[in-house]
């Protein structure tokens, strides 16, 4: 690959989920700046990916009965994986995954008491396909993926799944509920060390009355769940924080009549979203996600990104524009150094290996074993990233997914390798290039030894059908392939 293509491939891995051969060829026609522009300004492209589910030429899905991604958890997961593989707006899916980890909400608690169908609706329903126009949390995150954090925080505070997940639906005047108020400051904005226990109690009181309107029959699959501000459950006394809430430095949210008390929460969110601590924490997370999670970022670069965030009214798009066009992002030294999340690993493997005849349903259990069940993060802090993805069991699960995919693609891989059948080495070279992996000499020699082992090379179809999937299995399961 030419140097320009290498950085485009890196961009597509980090700002997307990797690229099929056709996608890489298309993006390589663009300048780097134009490629970034195409990824970031995805609103210019139609959001048409879902219409391709079930069509030939695309990765398949597997469901019991009709495919129902708005009401069946595994179908919702498959729709999302399908989007990751095939969307023309990969950055939108990538940022949705980022936010899903950031506002990590678990389906199993959301579902309790309202049935699986309704729990799935609250997490994943597409409003245009729902009988009550219910919008699931993932769809809300997807719609706001590059919007402002202030809007996102307001939307998440009112999100029905979040109201159940962090118990906002039971936050009342008589007994303020601390769960959401605590995590809002600890995980969604300022971070540990930048708030006190008293701030938690005050934040709980701020959000008293931010409740959930449940349908009379909470198990009715066509009824609506909606945020409601219950003025008569709002605690109206003033709330004082250890940090400024207002631009004049004021730390006290004033006592307000209950009817206007919803403004308390909007004031707190406005303050939290624009605090320098929030800006630095959030851009540091974006730096770790897009650039490097091992290198300590240059403080000046973090400050620069934080400034972009604050000067643009907490909008994420300008921050990503600066990040993706920075020299730090384009430095070849950071290529293939970020530990790939299981979803990233699975989707890239599909895009590079091939998918015809494969179903993303076959990835669901594998993802659980790798430690990333979509819609079911382990806690509100999200998944533990980096090295923690690589326990022995999780590594084995990646190797075994590689085996499942390679076995499924056996004939496709053999056919694709036919042009390289002249020698074991040429087949290995072809597959290493197809999977865009930077294997060192040691691994390359292992692949060669395997390809030549036990056979007198003829390049027959039968040999290709054994060796091509074998080599792909070994590459996808190698330590080198686990990085994006």
């Amino acid at each position: 690959m030419a140097a320009g293509d290498l950085v485009i491939a890196h961009l597509l891995r980090r700002a997307g989920f990797g690229a099929s051969g056709a996608e890489l060829a298309a993006y390589s026609q663009l300048s780097y700046a134009a490629a970034v522009d195409r990824l970031i300004n995805y609103d210019a492209l139609p959001d048409a990916v879902d219409a391709n589910i079930g069509k030939p030429g695309f990765v398949g899905t597997t469901s019991r009965g009709a495919f129902s991604p708005n009401t069946v958890p595994d179908d919702a997961r498959q729709r999302w994986l399908f989007r990751m593989v095939h969307s023309d707006r990969p950055l939108q899916e990538k940022m949705t995954l980022f936010w899903h980890n950031y506002f990590a909400t678990g389906l199993s608690k959301v579902t309790a008491g309202i049935k699986s169908e309704n729990g799935t609706r609250l997490m994943a329903a597409k409003a245009s396909e729902d009988p009550a126009r219910q919008q699931g949390q993932i769809e809300m995150l997807r719609a706001n993926a590059l919007g402002t954090v202030q809007d996102l925080l307001v939307a998440i505070a009112k999100d029905p799944a979040m109201l159940i997940w962090l118990d906002g639906d039971t936050n009342t005047k008589a007994k303020p509920q601390e769960n959401f108020g605590r995590e809002l400051m600890e995980l969604f904005s300022r971070g540990v060390g930048y708030y006190t226990e008293e701030d938690v109690y005050a934040a709980a009181r701020v959000f008293t009355g931010w409740n959930l309107s449940r349908p009379a029959n909470p198990q009715d699959p066509s009824a609506a769940f909606a945020f409601v501000y219950n003025a008569n459950q709002h605690e109206t006394a003033a709330k004082t924080f250890s940090f400024p809430i207002y631009s004049d430095g004021g730390r006290t949210i004033p006592s307000r009549a209950a009817s206007g008390g919803m403004q308390d929460g909007l004031d707190l969110i406005a303050a939290l979203s624009t605090h320098p601590e929030t800006a630095r924490r959030l851009v540091s997370k974006l730096f770790a996600f897009f650039v490097s999670e091992t290198a300590t970022p240059d403080p000046a670069f973090i400050d620069e990104l934080a400034t972009v965030y604050l000067q643009n009214g907490t909008a994420i798009k300008p921050v990503l524009q600066r990040l993706l066009t920075s020299p730090q992002f384009q430095d070849p030294a950071i290529f293939f150094t970020r530990y790939a999340w299981p979803a990233e690993f699975v989707v890239r493997a599909l895009k590079e290996t091939g998918w015809t005849g494969f179903s993303v349903g076959s990835a669901l259990t594998a993802l659980v074993n790798m430690g990333q069940e979509l819609l079911e993060p382990p806690s509100v802090a999200g998944w533990v990233l980096g090295q923690s993805w690589f326990s022995t069991g999780a590594m084995l699960a990646r190797m075994n997914f590689a085996s499942t995919l390679a076995a499924n693609q056996k004939f496709n891989l053999a056919a694709a390798s036919a042009g390289a059948r002249g020698s074991a080495r040429s087949v290995v070279d072809f597959l290493v290039s197809r999977l865009t992996v930077d294997v060192g000499n040691d691994v390359y020699n292992d692949l060669l030894a395997y390809a030549a082992a036990g056979v007198t090379w003829t390049g027959s179809d039968a040999q290709l059908q054994a060796k091509a999937p074998g080599v792909v299995h070994l590459i996808l399961g190698s330590p080198e392939y686990q990085f994006t």
Binding site: T170, K175, T337, S391, T392, L396, G440, A466
Partner: protein, 420 residues
């Protein structure tokens, strides 16, 4: 800190180390040979409400502060009174644990915690994991203990039954096997027969390289290598036939794998097991059969009881110690959602053949008087009486035969909690 590995490097054998074992090592530990013992750490994640597990059923404030969550005195499983004379009872569903208690193999250590207890799940878990309230970003206490064992350490020296390596097991020098499912812990291949064997040989070779210029790749290689090196022994554990049937849930199956690993003698010293759902902010329901906390207690009771009975039948109970922890206890007063918010100190369980059963420490008085010294946070939460590191120290010194001062970075030994 001089680790045992340093001793070995310096030419001093593990044998002479044990002869030179310091005086704090209990006679029991020496006599029984600590090397054959194992430890099961059980993480009750989410923040366990100790007051619903070990109920202060004679404390009037318990009933006045928990109008819907208090467990009726007549239904608790009485376990006698603690050193302060306060009568206590186990949650009504802990019948198996009560039996183990009556047999003298279950210790209940009350009010375990630390100063300025964190109310954050994540900071709290990190603090319990690192045993360091002032800087909870470093290595884990179990990892540090393991790193004192003679090198080279086998990848199965610790067996984590969850998918992600818990912070407590992390250390720079010890790789931990994570085996969430024994049956799926196997090498698969797109080919079969000889060709599959060739792939396995190649995969082992690929995993064997240590690219020094790429430490991140080398790290993943370590995991891949450990996976390849443990496949066959884990497969043997998959053949284990327990003497009792374990509950058909994640917790029960994890405990079955633990007893299988012990019975098959794979060499594991520390097992890590987790069961979650303890973050009961709302609808905690401690009494109805379908109640959230009741289900937690049933899961806990049935799992531990099955493990106890199986190990007893296998003759392995005397070499096993199970120790629970949770990142914090919960608020004394219930909240408006019929649940409890994040609190401070809580109760720990220790179970095993070598345990001196009974009640340790004293229960808090739950009086809402803000001068009540057994509570903190304006009498909102239970104040600790025993530093959690003292419990760890007891386990490290008296059960594992290690040096708690080195592992914990200080002397936390404390009398009065001699449960092992």
């Amino acid at each position: 800190m001089m680790t045992r590995r340093d001793f070995v490097k310096n030419g001093v054998t593990a044998f002479t180390f044990s002869l030179a074992a310091p005086a704090f090592l209990s006679d029991l530990a020496r006599a029984q040979g600590a090397a054959s013992r194992n430890l099961i750490v059980l993480d009750l994640s989410g923040g366990n409400d100790g007051l619903s597990m070990l109920v202060p059923y004679t404390d009037a404030s318990y009933y006045s502060r928990r109008p819907t969550l208090a467990i009726p005195a007549g239904t608790v499983l009485q376990v006698g009174a603690d050193a302060s004379g306060k009568a206590l009872g186990l949650h009504p569903k802990l019948t198996g644990l009560r039996d183990i208690f009556n047999q003298g193999r279950l210790a209940l250590v009350q009010r375990v915690g630390y100063e300025n207890s964190s109310r954050s799940h994540f900071s709290g878990t990190d603090i319990w994991s690192t045993a360091n309230p002032s800087n909870s970003t470093g290595s884990g206490w179990v990892g540090r203990y393991l790193s004192t064992l003679p090198a080279p350490l086998d990848p199965l020296v610790a067996w984590n039954t969850t998918g992600d390596t818990p912070h407590a097991l992390l250390s720079a020098s010890v790789s931990v096997a994570s085996i969430p499912s024994v049956t799926s812990y196997a090498f698969s291949s797109p080919n079969s027969g000889d060709e599959a064997a060739r792939e396995r040989t190649a995969a082992a070779s690929i995993a064997s390289h240590v690219p020094v210029d790429k430490p991140h790749v080398a790290f993943v290689g370590t995991s891949a290598r450990a996976a390849m090196a443990t496949l066959d022994r884990v497969a043997a554990v998959g053949q284990y036939k327990p003497t009792v049937s374990y509950p058909n849930n994640g917790f029960g199956q994890a405990l079955q794998a633990v007893s299988g690993a012990m019975a098959k003698g794979v060499g594991t010293r520390v097992f890590w097991v987790q069961t979650g759902g303890f973050d009961t902010h709302a609808a905690q329901d401690t009494t109805a059969d379908a109640g959230a906390y009741v289900k937690l207690m049933v899961t806990l009771n049935d799992g531990i009881t099955a493990l106890h009975n199986d190990l007893q039948n296998q003759g392995l109970l005397n070499s096993t110690l199970l120790l629970t922890f949770s990142e914090f206890g919960r608020r004394v007063s219930e909240n408006g959602s019929k649940g409890t918010d994040h609190g401070a100190a809580s109760v720990l369980l220790a179970m095993g053949g070598g345990v001196r059963g009974g009640l340790y420490g004293t229960a808090a008085s739950l009086s809402p008087d803000t001068s009540n010294p057994t509570l903190e946070n304006a009498a909102g939460d239970v104040h600790y009486e025993t530093d959690f590191r003292s419990v760890y120290a007891k386990v490290i010194d008296n059960w594992l035969g290690g040096d708690s001062v080195g592992v914990l970075g200080g002397n936390f030994r404390k009398s009065g909690i001699d449960f092992v």
